[in-house]
Symmetry: C2
Subunit: 112 residues, 2 copies
């Protein structure tokens, strides 16, 4: 059962760990088998596996097994969705004529 489009907070969650962030950055430079990904990390293979599973569950990584080697690659669509969210956020608060003014307004409301 492939996870088609995990919720955004799941994507964020997947990126919320330094090891996983490093894995994503590493995979951004090209696909690699599990053991190659694990090599520079100061932790056991099973631990790396778990991280990869989280990334895969969030739709950030896709992997395929050939013989006894599992090759992993970035699935950029997930990052696209992240980008889309950011853009939406930005358009929202950039629409406000003057954010700072609104903020000070809210702050000074009780001030008279």
């Amino acid at each position: 059962m492939l996870n088609q489009s995990p919720s955004l907070d799941r994507v964020f969650h997947a990126l919320a760990d330094p090891t996983r962030l490093a894995l994503v950055e590493r995979l951004g430079r090209g696909a690699a088998p599990v053991s190659a990904l694990a090599e520079p990390l100061a932790m056991s293979l099973p631990a790396v596996l778990q991280h990869l599973n989280v990334l895969e569950g969030a739709g950030l990584v896709r992997s395929e097994k050939r013989g006894r080697v599992r090759t992993c690659a970035l699935q950029t669509e997930a990052l696209d969705r992240l980008d889309a969210w950011l853009a939406a956020q930005r358009s929202e608060w950039e629409q406000r004529l003057d954010r700072l003014t609104a903020y000070l307004d809210a702050l000074g409301d009780a001030d008279a």
Copy 2:
């Protein structure tokens, strides 16, 4: 001690929770006092406070207290940093002439 520029994975961590994500989206539509932020959420005020503290610790939210009211606002710089990271990632993997080919290459390496 204000956290000047929290690490990226801390920002991701802050956004990795549905409640906090909702808070950020809400704040994107304008600054608001704590109780107003808490109102639509099905949880106690202290819980909301904790979430806000996480967001503030990650540099995503700034707040100021006037009288007995704490007003919170989005700190968009943190989102900018996120955007910058995404752009960097993208430029990295878009540089590769043909990602798919590279992936299949890696996959088929043992294939002959």
